[in-house]
Amino acid sequence: MAEAKSIIGTQNKKGQTYTDTWKMMNEAPRTPSFYTGSEVIKEAIRRASCDVMIAYPITPQSEAAALIGELFAEGYIGDYFRGESEFAVMSQCAGAAFGGARVFTTTAGPGTMRAMENFPMWAGARLPIQMIVTCRGINSPLSIQPDTLEIAYLLNTGMLVWHAETAQDFFDWILKGYIVSEEPDVHLPLALCCDGFFVTHTKDVVNLTPADMCLPPYDPYRSPVPCMDMECPPVRMMRDPFVMKSNYISYATHASWQQEIWAAVERSRKHSIHWLNGLIDTENTDAEIMIVASGTAVSQGREAIRLLEDEGVRCGLVKVKTLRPWPEEEIREATKNAKHIFVPEFNVTGWLAREIKATIPNHDRVHAGPHVCGGMTMPPEIIVSEIKTALGMKTFSLAGRGS
């Protein structure tokens, strides 16, 4: 067979050079830039060789979705349009991915919930779509404020689910996310979540890769299922549609298909470890008190650790980067010395604490909290207060928080 000609080193129509992703992410020079999270999404997509982006307005992702439109106008994206609702948008994304395109979209809160029927379909159809979720409240009465409850609903869809802490995470993970989710042994959609407003609407220094480098394009013929473009034989999928047969073969087919999706989530583990430098980050794992968190709760936890240190209390930290695949072994190992494990969260139910309790031995060590929700901020002081109270230390009451 003739050797396939590599696209690496060639240029796209915007003059960007298709670059080996490892070199681009880890070796190319970085430029510090002061951007909002939304602008960072735009800058990542500029370098992502995306074919299709489909947009819909909902706070707090509207700005990012509109900025991607500017990239389309500049010629960086193959096609872009505004859909009619999140349900339709996620189906339009599916159609584009079925047709072999690298697809990007963004959503938030009630939009995530409206589109929900699509997500297990994406995973079941093995479509490596990337969806940014800028989390916000989904409760009634109407709220647009930060709240991470919607992530809980994504955990059982078969999608990869990552939770970014900072805009820097966002920039790197959007690009790395495509590489992981497009691996032939993974080939699953990725929900890349962040805490709305805290990440999207604040400015931060982010180190960007060179704008004249971009990801290699998506190759739909590496997919484990046929691309629907009539470029490969249109095999009849089956003699008898399994949809409504009540027999063992039918059940076994559906069961094995579901198992395969979750096996693919598992197989993403090794790629995620490689690209994200582990599924978790840790500090002070020898401490008896640990904070385990994801998203911006990690930043608040870090600040709480500093405050506690001033009072002579040593505390460690686990930053959970991927929720699917779930870093079970890593969290067990990182918390093995801990006598108390605190899980601060920006939601009312504490889904992360439940996941951790289901993972580690002696789960009565887990203190599910503090929780804030409905848009409330999480001052590090309330984490400190939660920890000191649990340890039987004297703590000052925080005004307005009823403690």
Binding site: V52, A88, Q92, A94, G99, A101, R236
Partner: protein, 302 residues
């Protein structure tokens, strides 16, 4: 895709299913004037079906698949319902994803294919039932038309939810007693062909599938216009004989009865001005091609 793509390696030929061997030998991918007359002399792109005996939908499927002008580069999008029982046995790429989202899927698909194959024709054809098109999926049906998405939408109108057992649908006739319409349907059949015209479709036809030659004509027109100009819509009566109390052999007569001039499926057509122009150009080209072929045949026999 060309017919070469479906060729079988010689070493594996004998272990391939016979229907695939037949597909390689005698299907009509790439045949310029393919149509309903190929049925019986070539391998059809639909292999069996699991619909009820005598279901007019199965006739419609056969005529449509025989008439697609470009099946080797056509991708079809279906939805949940009786049609989703047939698509797994159709030899063009087809997508089933959810119930009612077919025109959204097709919008993304058509755009992706246009980005990936800017210099090639890739047709997209949606085929779904009336529940999918008019009830649960109406929003996405209309929005695709508003956006002037360049694909064909075909609705198999059997005037009820057939696959779930005969419940009321928006395209059901007023007064019809059905499940979920226990005292008869209280409102008129939704006038989607008119709505389609107002929503920007360039070619709209309302008819039955009693005449294969007519199905061939409207399918070819709809696909060509969608490819060049904008959205097209075909509403085809495919009665659910089971749910209206007919026998297997009575489907054809039911369609003939319903297409009489005063009946609800009397042939109705709307063609926009640009679409008329395109059809005239295609007809002229066709005439030219046939004349040339005739001349060539005359020379050969002389």
């Amino acid at each position: 895709m060309s017919k070469e793509r479906i060729q079988i390696s010689e070493a594996l030929y004998d272990i391939m299913p016979s229907d695939y061997q037949d597909l390689v030998k005698s299907s009509t991918y790439g045949k310029e004037d393919r149509g309903w007359k190929d049925i019986g002399t070539s391998k059809e792109l639909i292999e069996q079906h699991s619909l009820c005996a005598g279901c007019p939908e199965s006739m419609a499927f056969r005529y449509i698949l025989a008439s697609l002008p470009n099946p080797e580069d056509t991708v079809m999008v279906g939805s949940t319902g009786c049609t989703s029982l047939v698509f797994p046995m159709v030899a063009v790429h087809n997508i089933h994803s959810l119930f009612g989202n077919q025109n959204a899927i097709a919008s993304g698909l058509k755009r992706a294919l246009s980005v990936r194959f800017p210099d090639r024709i890739k047709d997209v054809v949606v085929l779904a039932g009336d529940g999918a098109t008019v009830d649960i999926g109406l929003d996405m049906t209309l929005q695709a038309w508003f956006r002037q998405e360049k694909f064909t939408t075909i609705c198999f109108d059997n005037e009820l939810y057939a696959n779930t057992g005969g419940q009321e649908s928006g395209l059901m006739q007023k007064g019809f007693v059905a499940k979920m319409a226990p005292v008869g349907k209280l409102f008129e059949k939704v006038r989607l062909p008119e709505i389609a015209r107002e929503s920007g479709c360039h070619y709209v036809v309302n008819c039955t599938v009693s005449k294969p030659s007519l199905v061939e004509k409207v399918i070819r027109n709809a696909v060509h216009i969608a490819r060049e100009i904008g959205p097209t819509y075909l509403q085809l009566y495919t009665p659910c004989i089971l749910e209206i109390g007919k026998n297997s052999m009575e489907g054809l007569q039911e369609m003939r009865d319903s297409e009489k001039p005063t009946e609800r499926f009397a042939y109705k057509e709307y063609v926009s001005e640009p679409a008329k122009q395109l059809l005239a150009e295609l007809a002229a080209k066709d005439k030219e091609r046939k004349a040339a072929a005739k001349q060539l045949a005359g020379q050969a026999s002389a």
